[in-house]
Symmetry: C2
């Protein structure tokens, strides 16, 4: 006998358990892929910062911190490294001199594309062992997860 409608609570706990087992596993692969970059290395936080600035050019430091879900001190340090590596251009807003305006440099844009492409290709390769239906299922699950967890970032 199976239970076609298990109580919500048990289902939630089972899913949360699976999530705690799986996410760190996948995260590790993403991280080492980023590190394995042919040219220069990019940490996951740096990658996410570049990806955000690609979507939101001219964002402030606070916006980066909010988006990444870190303190402004952490965002400042991460950004500083990207500025030093000439991936990000940082300047004061003339209208509001407390704010900084952050933008990708050409080198930053190029590096982001390369990092994205390499990691994406590697992960796609890993998924090749599955069927189309299975890949679609994973994708749909990720879309739902993103909907649940994304709002938390922008507290």
């Amino acid at each position: 006998m199976s239970f076609p409608n298990p109580p919500q609570e048990e289902l939630l706990i089972a899913c949360a358990t699976k999530l705690m087992e799986t996410i760190p596993l996948v995260m590790r692969t993403i991280r080492s892929d980023m590190r394995a970059q042919s040219s220069t290395t990019l940490s996951v936080s740096q990658f996410r910062t570049l990806a955000f600035l690609d979507r939101a050019p001219g964002a402030s430091l606070s916006a980066v911190a909010d988006h990444l879900g870190v303190t402004s001190a952490t965002a400042s340090a991460t950004t500083e490294r990207l500025v030093q590596r000439n991936f990000v251009d940082r300047r004061h807003d003339p209208q509001e001199r407390r704010r900084v305006v952050l933008q990708l440099t050409e080198a930053g844009k190029q590096h982001l594309q390369e990092a994205r492409s390499q990691t994406r290709t590697h992960i796609a390769t890993l998924l090749e062992s599955l069927t189309d239906d299975q890949v679609s299922l994973i994708q749909d699950g990720l879309i739902l997860l993103k909907q649940v967890f994304e709002p938390l970032e922008h507290h």
Copy 2:
């Protein structure tokens, strides 16, 4: 018009892209949950080490490193912190004195249970906004992801 059977390649890339957007997001929540522990704080790596030793009592340092997908130096450092906090008992194997035998202490077991329970409950709460079907879908997706990414850990 929709494409009921998109080419594998595009589908793989789309899924990989979604994965790169979503996993770091979820990971951040797990991490901050661990940090928000009432009693003592446990990093994700420390948590995973405890969880592994719970499943594999008496494991060696190499086994921990393999399982976590890190170098033995990293595993050694993480383990050392757990030993110092009295969560792990570390001793030499009498038969093979190069090896260490790692086991959870009672305090380690207890802390693991608490950390697991708290994080699990919080994540389950976050998933409450979804329907049973959606939660099941996420769970199935995670099971598949685990199958794909787990073998990589044991290189």
